[in-house]
Every structure is written in structure tokens, then in C-alpha cells.
């Protein structure tokens, strides 16, 4: 590689003459010159960071589920944002129960947030930029607002094969965080259909992330449900288009 040496600091040995004050006794002060070898590290010129950017467009495909502001995260293979069959992180629990995305946005190497909820039929495009990393994984999470703890998104899309100008298109399915039982009650659904409680640290459901079974609704036989046929959904719940722009 041509520029491999640029990353190595140059070492220079400089002989410096430093005046040293050596105190032998109280009234006998002499100045002597002592040569001292000092290693001075001259930093190599920093390579100019290269921006790697992705445009992410998320479209809400549901009939009546607002999608909370999306949390898009770039992360490594070692970071799992969520895994079906495993316990949801507190960050995911907060997002899935209330739509609060601050925790999810703190994960991974870098993140980007949507500016607001994406209503049914609408879409939003966010840009996420990282420097010098072209093999990140992209994960996206967002709450389906008129549920107890449903979220949609994308799990660890490998971006390593996406060249500048390339586009990946796919869909997001509905997951259940497993942290709040699906009572669909007015007290527990935070979305506009109910205005109930959002995040509650008590965990009352299965305890693991799984595919969401869908909402039942009062129209379809769940007497405790504040939801109606307007809030039912099926997979997929969002479409996702990712384009690498630089």
C-alpha cells in the first residue's frame, strides 16, 4: 500500500542543550550544560477521513399504525440490536413500549433519527454517515404506536457489498419486544388510539423478542382492547430503501 508509511509517526532524535540548575549546597550554585537526548514524535499527516453515507427511506405500509421516529444504527457484526428469541435490551423496551428512541440511538458506531412519526402511507428519508467504514451493518427500529410493545424495522443488513450508487430494497416485519403483555388496553397503548402509558420498566410478557402475532382489536373479540379494525396490521409493515450516496 502506497501510503502505509503515512500512518507511522516519524521519530527524530534531537540533541538539546538544557540548562540545568544543580544545587550542591546552599551558596554554591553552578550552571552546567548537560546534553539530553529527547525523542520527539512528529505525527504523521492524518489520512483524510472519507465519508460513507446512506440514504434510508422508510414508508409506513399499515392501515392505522403510526411508526415512531425511526432509529437507524450502523454497527459491527458483534453488536446485536435485537435478536428473535433473546431478551430485549432496556433501550429496545423503551422504544417498543413508548417510541422513545434515545437509547437505541446510543447503540452502535453511529446513528440517525427520524424527525417525527411516519403516519400510514407516508415516508421519511434520513441520511446516516460514517467515516471510512464500508462494511457496517444497518439496523432500524421504530414502534408501531397503537400497540403495547410492537416494533418494526430491519435487523443487521450487511452493507459491505453496497457500492456508491447501489440501492437495497426490502421490507420490515412486525416484532414483539416481549416486555409488555398485549392487553391492547387504553391504559397501556401510548399511541393516538389510546393515549395510555408508554414505557414501564416492569416486564409483563414472554420475556423474549418474537414475531408479533398482530393486534386482535375489540372488533375481533378482545374485550379489553381499545383498538379497532383500523389498527390491525399484517406483514410487512414498512418498506425500506437504502441507497449508498457516497
Amino acid at each position: 500500500m502506497l501510503n502505509q508509511f503515512k500512518n507511522k509517526p516519524f521519530r527524530s532524535a534531537l540533541l538539546l542543550a538544557l540548562p540545568l540548575a544543580i544545587s550542591a549546597c546552599s551558596d554554591d550554585v553552578r550552571e552546567v550544560e548537560v546534553p539530553v537526548e529527547v525523542i520527539v514524535e512528529v505525527p504523521a499527516p492524518e489520512p483524510v477521513p472519507v465519508d460513507v453515507s446512506y440514504e434510508i427511506t422508510v414508508t409506513n405500509l399499515t392501515k392505522g399504525q403510526p411508526v415512531s421516529p425511526i432509529a437507524a444504527v450502523l454497527h459491527t457484526d458483534d453488536d446485536s440490536i435485537f435478536t428473535v428469541g433473546e431478551v430485549a435490551s432496556v433501550e429496545l423496551e423503551q422504544l417498543a413500549e413508548s417510541g422513545m428512541s434515545e437509547g437505541m440511538l446510543s447503540l452502535g458506531m453511529t446513528s440517525a433519527s427520524g424527525t417525527g412519526p411516519i403516519l400510514p402511507g407516508e415516508n421519511e428519508t434520513v441520511t446516516i454517515t460514517i467515516q471510512d467504514v464500508t462494511d457496517a451493518n444497518l439496523s432500524i427500529t421504530a414502534m408501531l404506536g397503537n400497540t403495547n410493545d410492537a416494533f418494526t424495522g430491519l435487523n443487521a443488513l450487511d452493507l459491505s457489498t453496497l457500492e456508491v450508487g447501489d440501492t437495497w430494497s426490502g421490507v420490515g416485519r412486525a416484532y414483539d419486544a416481549g416486555t409488555e403483555v398485549n392487553s391492547e388496553s387504553a391504559e397501556t397503548v401510548p399511541g393516538p388510539a389510546a393515549g395510555g402509558e408508554g414505557y414501564n420498566p416492569n416486564r409483563t410478557d414472554t420475556g423474549y423478542v418474537a414475531m408479533h402475532p398482530g393486534v386482535v382489536s375489540s372488533d375481533d373479540g378482545l374485550s379489553t382492547s381499545v383498538l379497532t379494525v383500523d389498527h390491525k396490521f399484517d406483514n410487512p409493515t414498512v418498506s425500506i430503501v437504502v441507497t449508498r450516496t457516497e
Binding site: 428473535v84 428469541g85 418474537a210 375481533d220 373479540g221
Partner: protein, 232 residues
């Protein structure tokens, strides 16, 4: 994780010149639902001119037996008869929500497609299905998501009943919490061929209502299973 037991259908494996080479294949199946169980799973590698089931066609007696009661006896017999390679553990316990099971087999020359079946609990005749998926020849890991199918052999009354083929009702193993006293959701099956399962309806009563399954637990949306195939 359990290891699927390997069944070798050696008797039917005459040495014939077939275009597809043997392959070392690992199959992992995960139940990705929140509240359903799967009966022991059969993963079968076979020739493309055979199939365990076809959407839009009547289910075989062996598929009916698997879909209504979870038995793999008939599927095992069929797999042997068609010279298939089969990964299964018929005596294993159920695959609980989000659990995985995996096994590795060496497929025989010509057995170039993979099919997977297992009954969904609770259901009358629901099953997870993969039908003649072509096993890639290139080494790598491949992911397939499975839908829930209805065998079309039994009315979806959603009542605790029998797991015997041809008998109404659902098997009710002890690990399922089911209701009683339901009046029955459906009394006939309008589509007698294999089709995408319409899903459980359920209700919110364990003592009456139409169904003995619980609507906030035993429904599902597709997909219901994730199959990860690794060609070694």
C-alpha cells in the same frame, strides 16, 4: 439446541448417474412465533420430481397425519420410499416459541431440493411448510422464512379434540393452556386443498366463546419459522 436424528434411507439409494452431487448440509429451524409450538420437525432432501405437499392440491394422507396430530410416521415412510435423506427426531418434545433445532446431513446425489414440515400447535391442521427449495451448490449460508399452511383436511373448529387424522378437534398436549366449552369457530373446511392458513381466531374466554384458543396469544402473522441452510 437439540440435534436432529439422522435417518438414512439407504435401501432406496441405488447408484444412478444423477446430475446433482451430494452435499454436506446443515439445516437449522427456528420457531419465530411468540405463542405457538411446533411438533417434531422433518427436514427432507429429495429429488425435484417428488414433493411432500403442493399448495392448491389435496394433502396426502401422510401430510394429513402430520398436520392434524404431529406424527412423522407417514412422512418417514414416504421419505424412505422416494430415496430421500431425512433429518428428524420424531420423539423430540415440541419446539417452543423462539427455540431452534438443527442437524447436519450428507444429501445423496440427486436429492437437490429441501422440504420442511411440522404441525403448528394449537391448530386443527396447520403446519409450517417449505416445498422443494433448491439447495444451492455454492458453499454458504442461506435464510428462508416459512409461512403457515392449512392442510385443508379438517375444519378449523379450534376446539380441544383429537389429533387422529380424520377426527375433529385439536390435540391438546399439557404444555398448551387451552380453554374448554367453546362452541366451535368453523364446522366445515371450504378449501380442501393445501392453502395458506387463515390463522387462528381464538377468543378471550377460557370457559366459553367460540374457540378454545386465546386470541391474544395463539394468533400469528406470517412468517412463522426461519430456516437457515448452510451448505458446507
Amino acid at each position: 439446541m437439540k440435534t436432529l436424528q439422522k435417518f438414512c434411507a439407504a435401501t432406496a439409494l441405488a447408484v444412478t448417474a444423477l446430475p446433482t452431487m451430494a452435499a454436506d448440509v446443515t439445516v437449522e429451524i427456528q420457531n419465530i412465533t411468540q405463542g405457538l409450538y411446533f411438533t417434531p420437525i422433518a427436514a427432507v432432501a429429495h429429488t425435484p420430481d417428488t414433493s411432500l405437499f403442493e399448495v392448491g392440491e389435496m394433502a396426502s394422507a401422510e401430510i394429513q397425519e402430520m398436520a392434524e396430530g404431529g406424527s412423522l410416521a407417514g412422512i418417514t415412510t414416504v421419505a424412505t420410499a422416494i430415496g430421500a435423506d431425512m433429518l428428524a427426531e420424531p420423539t423430540a418434545g415440541p419446539l417452543a416459541p423462539t427455540e431452534k433445532v438443527a442437524g447436519t446431513f450428507m444429501t445423496t446425489d440427486g436429492n437437490s431440493v429441501l422440504s420442511v414440515v411440522a404441525m403448528i400447535l394449537p391448530s386443527n391442521d396447520g403446519f409450517i411448510g417449505l416445498d422443494n427449495w433448491e439447495i444451492p451448490t455454492e458453499v454458504g449460508t442461506y435464510t428462508i422464512y416459512l409461512n403457515a399452511y392449512d392442510a385443508g383436511t379438517e375444519a378449523n373448529d379450534e376446539l380441544v379434540g383429537s389429533g387422529e387424522p380424520g377426527m375433529p378437534g385439536m390435540p391438546a398436549p399439557p404444555f398448551l393452556t387451552l380453554g374448554t366449552g367453546g362452541s366451535g369457530v368453523a364446522s366445515t373446511e371450504a378449501n380442501a386443498t393445501v392453502h395458506i392458513h387463515p390463522g387462528n381466531i381464538g377468543d378471550d374466554s377460557l370457559t366459553d366463546g367460540a374457540s378454545d384458543v386465546t386470541n391474544s396469544i395463539h394468533r400469528w402473522l406470517n412468517p412463522v419459522a426461519k430456516v437457515t441452510v448452510t451448505v458446507n
